[in-house]
Amino acid sequence: MGAATPAGRSVQTSETLSSGGYGSYSVDRGQILRIVDLEGQQVADIVCFDEDLTTRYSAGHTKLMNGKKHASTGDTIYSRECEAMLTIVEDTCGTNYLSNSTCSGEKNYARYGVKNTRNCRTNLVAAVEDEGDDLQRVAISTSICTFMNVKRNPFGVKLNREPTSTAGDHIDFRALMDLKVFISNCPSRRNPCNAYEPTALEIQVHEPTDSPTESDQA
């Protein structure tokens, strides 16, 4: 399970997010946030802020600054003011979605006619509250979804497909500022986004170490 830690890093924290779980993570500038899809085909909904919670990622500015619709290795996540927040240093799956509407009870009811479903919005609100932070819904309504596989059909309609990620696939984000990150392990079982079977994720924070290999390369 999991994925090997590259040379030049030590694992500072490692936490399993059970199926449908959530968490919050402080990631300092230079540290790496790793999200591991332990069993495959599992989406993580991520919202990130500076440590004061005054700067939020913006999918629109991320796409504008990268000149790309999607983000993978080498691409950077930007704020509304175009501050560089995170850069993707490794992405073994390569399929992510930047401007996801986080699933919520109301939206799931509109979509599936089922009330009181577990959902990412409730998860993210709980993650924020657990930290004692005050964030309005508007700040967490849109998320970065790692491993989320979205296509458009020939009529331009957005379709969620089953993720292509397999067990051990992971994505590494290097923090370019001190960050607070909230993650929902998407609980949806009525949508192909998690292949109808939500499973666990592993969230790690890596600290760079002084590696002779890295200095040799530098």
Binding site: M65, C82, S104, V138, G156
Partner: protein, 208 residues
């Protein structure tokens, strides 16, 4: 806002807005909002809130996910999944639900221009009298034209020509914020921002 008071008193509003100008409009359920691009290639950024409970706001990502056919009229939904604005007439049919509005930081970093006019500041200004959430929602970019084929994301000039317009019918009592995008530094407004006319009608009233 004075504009909103005028609207309440008279039932209609008619305003020409220059690039960089913004407006707050209290739009009642079933009223009609028309946005006219006077000269062409001009983006208007739109945000809206449930006027009685502004913690319910426009969510473009959800609105995008509700598109079932690329030829259908633009429908804007709230973060609760409720319809807010539905286009009833639209002479262009190209809008952006997947981007953000321009900000001072963006223009400073991309074009090295200090203290530029921008949609974020203008909209915050127009909406400042209302108790709203701290962050502006991601806006609907009316007539905004972004090339997104393959893995590209590239601004193209707005898809509208002179006199093109969109009519929305309001599905709830709304507070609407509009800003005529002042960006003259990339192609989104054809490098030449131009004025927009905004009109509010009672539905069923004279519209032309």
């Amino acid at each position: 806002m004075t504009e909103a008071t005028d609207l309440a008193d008279q039932g209609t509003l008619h305003r020409n807005l220059s690039p960089g100008e913004s407006i707050a409009i209290e739009l009642d359920a079933d009223q009609r909002l028309r946005i006219v691009d006077q000269e062409g290639q001009q983006i208007t950024n739109l945000v809206c809130y449930n006027r009685h409970a502004p913690d319910e706001f426009l969510e473009t990502a959800f609105s995008y996910s509700q598109i079932r056919n690329k030829d259908q009229q633009l429908s804007l939904y709230s973060d609760r999944g409720n319809p807010m604005l539905e286009a009833t007439e639209d002479t262009v049919g190209v809008h952006n639900l997947r981007g953000d509005l321009c900000t001072s930081g963006e223009v400073e970093k991309r074009f090295d221009i200090e203290d530029p006019p921008n949609c974020q500041d203008a909209l915050e200004d127009a909406l400042s009298d209302y108790p709203l959430p701290d962050w502006l929602p991601f806006p609907a970019g009316i007539f905004k034209n972004v090339e997104e084929s393959r893995n590209e994301y590239r601004m193209q000039p707005a898809a509208s020509g002179s006199g093109d317009y969109i009519d929305f019918t309001s599905k709830m009592d709304l507070l609407v914020g509009l800003c005529v995008c002042p960006n003259e530094w990339d192609s989104r407004n054809g490098f030449s921002p131009s004025p927009v006319t905004v009109t509010v009608y009672e539905n069923g009233g004279e519209d032309d």
